[in-house]
Structure formats: C-alpha cells, structure tokens
C-alpha cells in the first residue's frame, strides 16, 4: 500500500545548526509510528516539518499527496488532511469546549452551526467528554483538556494525526486516560505519528518504532525492537528508562 507519509533524506537547519541530517522513513495508511529518542534529537522538529510548520532545506516530504518542500504548497489544504496535537494542549481559552471544536468546521468547511455542534458532540463522545461541551478549558483537568484537543483535531476528519509528547505534562493517571483515547484511535484505523516517552505504549500500540538520535533515524523496527536493540545508543536509551 502506498504510504501516507514519506520522508526522504530530510535536512533541516536552524541557522547553521543542523537539526535533521537526512531523515528517511515512511508510514503506511493505518500505521502507527512512535518516534522516540533523547531530548534534542530532533523528534519535534521532524513532526513539525511534516505539518509544514518548519521549512526544510533538503530532501522531500510527501504527506497525503502534498509535497511539503514545494514553495507553492497549499498549507490550508494540507492541514485539512493532517491533525496535530501538542504537549501544551493549546485550546482557545476564551471559547467553550464546544466552540473550540466547532471553530474549524464552521470557518474552514463552512459547516452550519447545528451540524457543527452535532459533530462536536460526536467527537467529544469519542474521547469520553460528552458532558463537558459547555465548559471552558480552564475548568477541565489537563487530561481532559488534552482529550478536547484531540477531539478538536478529529472534528476536521484528518487522514493523519500527529502527536507531540501529548502526555508529557500530565500525571500518570491522566496520562492513562489520554493514551486510552489514542489507542482507540489507532485501533479504529487512524494513521498516527507520535513522539512519546511512553515506552510501554509504543511497544503495545505502535506498528513501527523510530529511534531518532542526533538528527537521524538511528534505528527503526517493530515494537519488539525495544526488547533487543541493535545499537548501543538505543540500548542505553531503553535501559535508562527515558
């Protein structure tokens, strides 16, 4: 099957500082790729490049048929196909949960308010927060806010979801409820790329684990790769329980 995301020899600099040095990997439709690696190894940058939030200086990225390196790239069309969830939730604080979710469908897809509201309730039910529609973000726990952020992305019916350390700001219990939502998404066939420190989750849910080190894909394989690392770097990374 043709991949939904394909990175080929991607190079990325911040000024003269090289962050990505020839990153290559692909994720098939319905695949779940977990990117792991030390802090500073370029995981977030790779994810941001996939969503054209950063420009790349070399190589190619193809996302659902959009060529990210193309100067003529239609960013808004790309973002209709790609959902992204951040560590800091980034909900809009002045809007209710429901309004947060309805904003993009009404603005971008010109959906009528009643339909958008139905959609909001539908995706909220999917993340187990149907009763919080009228609440404001600040009235929710971190885990609930993150689930709303996921629901907000889902409302745009993306073909691909990107998650950047979405549980890193949460305590273990709240982490669990967010991971559960993500696991259900994966089981439902959503193509996902997630940067994570949750090794157990990567092992269990990911169809593909990508270990990044010094701006390159150092080692890649299935979840079992974490049990028998080939490289010394991955071995020490796994053993340090990072």
């Amino acid at each position: 099957m043709s991949p939904i995301v394909k990175l080929t020899d991607v190079h990325k600099y911040f000024g003269t500082y090289k962050v990505l040095e020839g990153v290559t990997f692909e994720v098939p439709r319905g695949g779940v790729a977990a990117i792991i690696g030390q802090s500073g190894s370029g995981k977030s940058t790779a994810l941001r490049c996939i969503n054209a939030l950063e420009a790349i200086q070399g190589g190619t990225i193809d996302v659902c048929g959009h060529a990210i390196q193309d100067p003529e790239l239609n960013r808004r069309a790309l973002r209709c196909d790609v959902g992204m969830v951040f560590q800091s939730y980034n909900l809009f604080p002045h809007l209710t949960v429901e309004q947060n979710i309805m904003l993009a469908p009404t603005c971008v897809k010109l959906m009528r308010k009643p339909q958008a509201r139905d959609l909001a309730h539908q995706v909220l039910a999917q993340v187990g927060l149907a009763e919080k529609a009228e609440h404001y973000p600040e009235q929710l726990s971190g885990g609930q806010q993150q689930r709303v952020a996921i629901a907000r992305s889902l409302a745009m019916k993306p073909k691909l979801m990107l998650f950047d350390e979405v549980t890193s700001a949460l305590d273990p219990q709240l982490t669990g409820e967010v991971l559960k939502v993500m696991e259900e998404l994966a089981r439902g066939g959503m193509t996902m790329i997630l940067v994570t420190h949750e090794m157990a989750f990567a092992r269990k849910v990911a169809s593909q684990v990508i270990y990044m080190h010094k701006g390159t894909v150092w080692e890649t394989g299935s979840g079992t790769m974490l049990d028998s690392p080939r490289t010394a770097e991955l071995r020490s990374f796994v053993n340090n329980g990072l």
Partner: protein, 227 residues
C-alpha cells in the same frame, strides 16, 4: 471663612447642565468608538504590517503621546478651519479626541496582541484557519478581553479629558459650567457641582463598560471572574 454656599442659585440652569452632560457623553462616545477602531487597526498594522506601515503607526503614536491634548485640540480646530472645511467646535473636538485616544488604544491593544502566545496561532494554523480567521477568532478577541480593564480606564480618562475641549467652546459640560458661573457669579458652587457630575459620569461609564464586557466576553460572565 464666612463663605455662604448657595447651590440653589444654580437650579434654574439645570437644563444647561443636562445639555452639557449629553454633549460630553456624545463627544466621548464618538471618540471612544472611532478611537477604538482606529487604535485596533493601528495595533494590528504595527504588529503585522510592512516596515513602512509600522514606522508610520509608531510615529503617529509617539507624536500623540508626547504632545499636550490641548494643543492637539487647537491644531484640529484651527487646522480643519484652515483647510476651508467648516465644522462645528463639537465635531472638531470629537475628531481631536478620536485621534488622541486612537494612539493610546493602539498601545494598549498592542500589549494585548503581544500577550497572545504564538502557540495559539500555531494551533489555529494547524486547524486550517486562514490568516484573517486566526486574527479574528484567536488573536484579537482574547487580546481585547485581556486589556479590557486598561481600555476602560483609558476611555473614562477620555471622558474627563473632553472637558479640555471647552477651550474651543465645544458645548460640553465644562463649557456649560463656564457660562453658568459667569452669569451667576457662583463659580465655586458651579465647579463643585460640575465636579460631582463628572464623578457620577465616571461611575456610569465604568458601569456601562463592565456591563458591556460581561455581555461580550461570555467566559467572564459564566466563570464569574472579574474583568
């Protein structure tokens, strides 16, 4: 100290006081609304415009903030007359106050815009919103909500400062007082009365802003947080 207060002497002039109040409110309401629009546009231009636009706005703001309001009022009044356009003192006063408060609004709203974290815009970008939509839904509204208390103070101050336009004989409250004291010779009483009226007006304007804020910024109302 044998001064005998005689506030009753002012009573026959209640109509003129009332007219003064209405004109003060009219001039300051006009300047508030148009100054708010100009100031907000300037703030966006200064945050996101071309270098030339940015410099233009910065110059406007600095010139206004570093010259006396009275001088600005005179320049507007005589300047407009020199252009051959006939406008009443009231209109000239409204224009001068608009230009003045627009500059202050620009600075306040700019601070609000800067307080919106980049990650908010990025999240909106990731939801495929256009630049205009991002500005409108995610930046401007919460930015103004955040600086709303400062804006309120600024517009109350504007209402009080509008008394300066009595100098070009705009027919507002202070001008009315000037006339009344010159015919009653009860200057002290007149200005005490006028001071009291301004005090009441300030409270009324503040209350109106609070009410308006509660209506527009629904989150504040629902969560019961003060503006």
């Amino acid at each position: 100290m044998s001064y005998r207060f005689d506030f009753l002497a002012l009573l026959p002039y209640w109509r003129e006081f009332l007219w003064g109040v209405l004109l003060t409110l009219q001039i300051s309401a006009t300047a508030t609304v148009s100054g708010f629009i100009i100031g907000t546009i300037c703030a966006i231009a200064r945050a996101d415009g071309s270098p030339f636009i940015k410099r233009l706005v910065a110059t406007y703001v600095e010139v206004i903030r570093n010259t006396p309001l009275l001088v600005q009022v005179f320049i507007a009044y005589f300047g407009i007359a020199t252009l051959g356009v006939h406008v009443s003192a009231n209109v000239a006063a409204s224009i001068a106050l608009t230009v003045n408060v627009g500059a202050y609004t620009c600075e306040i709203v700019r601070a609000g815009l800067q307080s919106i974290h980049r990650s908010q815009m990025e999240a909106a970008e990731c939801l495929a919103l256009s630049r205009t939509q991002i500005y409108w839904h995610v930046v401007i509204r919460p930015a103004i909500e955040r600086v709303y208390p400062s804006l309120t103070s600024q517009y109350v101050l504007l209402m009080l400062a509008s008394s300066i336009t009595s100098q070009i004989s705009a027919a507002e409250l202070t001008a009315a007082a000037n006339r009344i004291q010159s015919v009653t010779f009860r200057s002290f009483e007149t200005y005490i009365a006028v001071g009291f009226i301004y005090l009441v007006l300030s409270f009324v304007v503040r209350a109106a802003f609070a009410l308006f804020g509660q209506t527009v910024f629904t989150r504040r109302r629902k969560l019961g947080t003060a503006l």
